[in-house]
């Protein structure tokens, strides 16, 4: 199958009567199970989980972030670190393999989720990949990200397509996080039960703004337990945290509590992923790695629409964290319309002209 991603983990096998959702529809049997029809091809194992640490408030007690310097640094990377030609094509393909292809709209239905899953498996036209000699490298997106209610549709669609791209679900009171903890935990467990192998949880921003770090740590820790074997991405909603030092502290707390990824935004805030915020979060990831030896992934999300933005994000990651982070196990791009622009740029690179509307399959 050759996907560059990993992560179909065998979840606990549920009894038949439990394999139904709230609408009474049958839940898919886990692949590889007897009910699921046999073995799937072995998929690469995702990077090791972040076990977290006990709460270390000393790591966040003396945080100094100079906003203008961070902004300047990000601007310089954006301005001076560009790629052209084959390099651009290669970097864009890498960006494709790191995309969490997302649809989080109130009007999502099984049909558009189905189309999204097809696009996830075939993000770039086959003939374009052939022209770049990349057709046999298993270029697919990293995951499909949907609301909990659409997880089953996504899982079914991907199973029908015969690929092992994981389904990620938002949970824990997405997008505002303003629900009781018990509700958040129940939502997480349900999403896992439906077949999601990655959970994007949302933190309570009020805990950050009030400096209640112990409570924040405890909340994330409980979400981590509710995720079970599913990977957990913690959305910090950085646009609502007030300051860059708060972003840094929230990042460290999230990682200490066991997050496998830290994510910038829900995509629903006024200010979503910005480069300065990303720089600060990446510096927190690096510091956590130096303290514990555990690598945590980074996911910017919201407002990433152009191929140039995608390359800038990759450049920032390479600059702050190094080349080893430039893989789907440790870097994701939360995007919905980004893929279209990337495919346009690759079309231009191969053919020398920009595509017409019908040249590319839209979701």
């Amino acid at each position: 199958m050759g996907s560059v991603l990993a992560s179909w983990r065998r979840g606990p096998e549920l009894p038949a009567h439990a394999r139904r959702d709230r609408q009474g529809r049958s839940l898919p049997a886990p692949p590889g199970s007897a009910a699921g029809g046999g073995e799937l091809p072995a998929a690469p194992i995702m990077a090791g989980r972040n076990p977290g640490t006990k709460l270390e408030l000393g790591w966040i007690s003396k945080v100094h972030v100079n906003r203008p310097a961070v902004v300047r640094h990000a601007e310089q990377i954006k301005k001076w670190r560009t790629v052209k030609g084959n390099w651009q094509a290669a970097w864009l393909l890498k960006a494709v393999t790191c995309i969490d292809l997302t649809t989080l709209s109130g009007d999502d239905t099984p049909s558009n989720v189905h189309r999204l899953c097809f696009k996830a498996k075939h993000p770039i036209r086959e003939d374009l990949l052939k022209a770049l000699d990349m057709h046999d490298k298993g270029i697919t997106v990293a995951a499909v990200c949907v609301y909990p209610a659409r997880v089953i549709d996504a899982v079914n669609a991907l199973m029908a397509a015969g690929c092992d791209i994981p389904v990620a679900s938002v949970a824990a009171g997405f997008p505002s996080g303003q629900t009781p903890l018990e509700t958040k935990l129940a939502e997480i467990r349900l999403a896992v039960q439906y077949g999601a192998r990655e959970i994007d949880i949302v933190i309570s921003r009020s805990l950050v703004l009030a400096g209640q770090w112990e409570d924040l740590y405890e909340e994330i820790r409980q979400c981590r337990e509710a995720c079970g074997e599913a990977h957990m991405k913690t959305i910090l909603a950085t646009g609502e945290l007030g300051s860059l030092p708060n972003v840094y502290k929230a990042s460290m707390i999230a990682m200490m509590a066991g997050s496998d990824f830290i994510k910038t935004s829900t995509g629903k805030e006024v200010e979503n992923a910005t480069f300065p915020v990303g720089v600060v979060m990446m510096r927190a990831i690096r510091e956590y790695y130096w303290q514990t030896g555990n690598k945590v992934g980074f996911k910017p999300a919201g407002g990433i629409r152009t191929a140039k933005d995608a390359i800038t994000w990759l450049m920032l990651v390479k600059d702050e964290l190094g080349v080893e982070w430039l893989k789907p196990e440790l870097f994701r791009l939360g995007a919905s319309s980004l893929l279209e622009d990337i495919e346009k740029q690759i079309f231009y690179h191969v053919t020398g002209t920009y595509p017409l509307l019908h040249d590319l399959a839209t979701v």
Partner: protein, 619 residues
């Protein structure tokens, strides 16, 4: 070089994720530009391109390169380019510095060409074989070819052209406890290719900063300095007399320093970026200018220690890093440097900065240059008094440095000058009519009052620039020695002292023969009004006064009294030398203050200082 690489296949790049070469090539744009301008250089003034007749290179004795100069100013220094053009075409004759007073008119055509082009074309021209060198104007001390204060420098000596770097200067980077160390490390790695950087860090921040720097230096990209993505270019030939960086490293290692060099692919002309810790205060790295991407780290215990160490490094600018803004401003205030950045290392030049520096070249309109071959009329002089005592001069200079007059706020200084004017007015009450002494005293009083009023109103200017604002002020030179090099009497030239004192300078005056009396009276009036002891010392001068003073290296040296040209080679240790001409130097004249002379005196008595304060994001 990266530019010569063939494009790699996408599959290989996908695996390695390397950056690849930068966009564009150097040759085509430069060729196109030269072709469109008929392959000749000329003057570009006020929108008109004035071609030089023919294209013969002109000998320029004072210019270090000896060839026609092409200036490509940074777009943000557009005002500077206009001023340079003015000076080159029809303005003052000393556009190439104080030392080259032999030209009495505009510069020869074709010698100095000011071209305003977009930066990418500027960089492309740098790579053209017919362009031998390019100077980027900028900084508190603009360096032109022929200037006695600067050496020619390229776009950047050994790094990439990114940003507006300190460019060849020697810069101290002070890192306090509350600094954003990640940003400091990023800025240092980015600025390593453009200036001599010396890091002075508080002990609490040193360990973490060192670790971050090791990571950043290891990720620097070596390559073509014209490629914007290059972090470090090849090491060009150092200026004569400058030791190779390997020699300095060896010396530092012998003294017990620790050296970190990342395993970057290099060899040939490339020298790896090098972090040096455990540097002794007497190390050559700290005492001499160095050449190459070396980064010494010096630990200090406190901000006061950091200031003291910085003052001994011979730096021309400083960058202070601290999130505690009052602490950063306090340190910045106490650094007597022309340019200080707060939480930044690369910053665009404010429009007023270079203008201030450019004004240090040129002659005022009331002081036309002498026609070549003529000397000022020699007046008969009385017998010289006893030559100045070396020990007395040394003591006077030390007391002047300790007096702290420059740290007294402007309004308080104004009060002292007013008090002195009142005291002088009382002294002259008993004099008869309209004799010369009373006239001189009256003019001196007027000068004291005028400068007191000026100090009460004097402030700075705030320039908004991309990413922040720059506070432009003027700071005193420090300790100024005033000596007489000719026969003219002291009286008129005493009027030089009020502006110097008003602007915070301490003075050591070696009075000419027969002139010590008026000077002592002035001193008495000032001290009585509150001038600190040592801020004004009056000693008998005489033969050799100029040489004696210059030997003790005051911050400024004024040579009054007319007389022949001083021996410039003997004044090498003094940075600011001024030979006031015309009425200010003691020559004849009726007006107490020729129009425009106050500004001239202000500029001669002080130096520009810019404090860069970042704020918000860049637009």
């Amino acid at each position: 070089m990266a530019a010569a690489l063939e494009p790699l296949p996408v599959t290989e790049i996908f695996g390695s994720m390397e950056d690849g070469p930068g966009a564009g090539g150097a040759g085509a744009a430069a060729e196109a530009w030269f072709s469109s301008h008929g392959r000749s250089l000329g003057h570009f003034v006020a929108g008109t391109w004035l071609k030089a007749p023919g294209r013969e290179p002109l000998e320029c004795r004072e210019a270090a390169t000896g060839n026609a100069a092409l200036l490509l100013p940074d777009p943000q220094g557009a005002l500077l380019s206009l001023r340079v053009a003015e000076l080159a075409v029809g303005g003052a004759s000393a556009a190439v510095g104080v030392a080259s007073r032999s030209w009495a008119g505009p510069l020869p055509p074709g010698l100095l060409n000011v071209v305003s082009v977009a930066p990418p074309l500027g960089h492309a021209l740098r790579g053209h074989p017919e362009v031998t060198a390019v100077t980027v104007l900028g900084g508190a001390q603009a360096a032109l070819w022929g200037s006695p204060r600067g050496v020619p420098r390229g776009v950047s000596p050994w790094g990439g052209p990114r940003g507006v770097s300190p460019g060849g200067a020697r810069v101290a980077v002070l890192v306090l406890d509350s600094a954003d160390l990640d940003s400091v490390a990023a800025a240092l790695a980015g600025g390593l290719g453009g200036a001599q950087l010396l890091v002075v860090a508080l002990e609490g921040a040193l360990g973490a900063l060192g670790r971050l720097l090791r990571v950043r230096l290891g990720a620097l990209r070596l390559g073509d300095p014209l490629d914007p993505k290059t972090g470090l270019g090849p090491l060009p030939q150092p200026p004569p007399g400058t030791p190779h960086p390997q020699e300095l490293l060896r010396a530092a290692l012998e003294e017990g320093a620790e050296v970190f060099q990342p395993p970057l692919p290099g060899g040939g002309q490339f020298f790896p970026p090098t972090l040096i810790t455990g540097v002794t205060p007497t190390s050559r790295l700290l005492r001499e200018p160095f050449w190459g991407p070396l980064l010494p780290l010096v630990p200090v215990r406190s901000p006061q220690d950091a200031i003291s160490v910085t003052l001994g490094l011979g730096v021309t600018a400083a960058s202070v890093w601290a999130q505690d803004v009052p602490a950063a401003l306090d340190v910045a205030d106490r650094l007597p440097l022309g340019r200080v950045w707060i939480n930044a290392l690369e910053a665009p030049e404010a429009p007023g900065e270079a203008l201030e520096a450019m004004r240090e070249f040129g002659r005022p309109p009331w002081d036309p240059p002498p026609a070549p071959g003529t000397l000022p009329e020699q007046e008969s002089s009385p017998e010289p008094e006893t030559p100045p005592n070396d020990a007395d001069v040394a003591t006077a200079l030390q007391e002047a440095r300790r007096a702290g007059w420059g740290r007294v706020p402007g309004p308080a200084r104004a009060q002292v000058l007013r008090g002195a004017a009142a005291a002088l007015g009382g002294d002259s009450d008993g004099d008869d009519g309209d004799n010369g002494d009373n006239g001189d005293t009256g003019r001196l009083q007027a000068a004291l009052l005028r400068w007191a009023a000026r100090m009460e109103l004097m402030g700075g200017a705030v320039q908004e620039v991309a990413g922040g604002r720059v506070l432009l002020t003027r700071r005193p030179l420090g300790v100024v020695g005033v000596a007489w090099g000719g026969p003219r009497p002291l009286a008129r030239a005493l009027e030089l002292l009020p502006p110097a004192l008003a602007l915070g300078n301490a003075l050591v005056l070696l009075a000419p023969p027969g002139g010590i009396g008026p000077a002592l009276r002035l001193r008495q009036a000032l001290v009585g009004a509150g001038l600190p002891q040592g801020a004004l010392s009056v000693l008998p001068g005489g033969a050799g006064a100029v040489t004696t003073l210059s030997r003790h290296r005051p911050d400024g040296l004024w040579i009054c009294g007319g007389g022949p040209e001083p021996d410039w080679s003997s004044l090498g240790g003094v940075t600011h030398v001024w030979v006031p001409g015309g009425v200010l130097g003691g020559g004849p004249g009726q007006d107490p203050a020729p129009p425009g002379c106050d500004l001239e005196l202000e500029l001669r008595s002080s130096r520009p200082r810019s404090l860069w304060l970042p704020g918000g994001g860049s637009q």
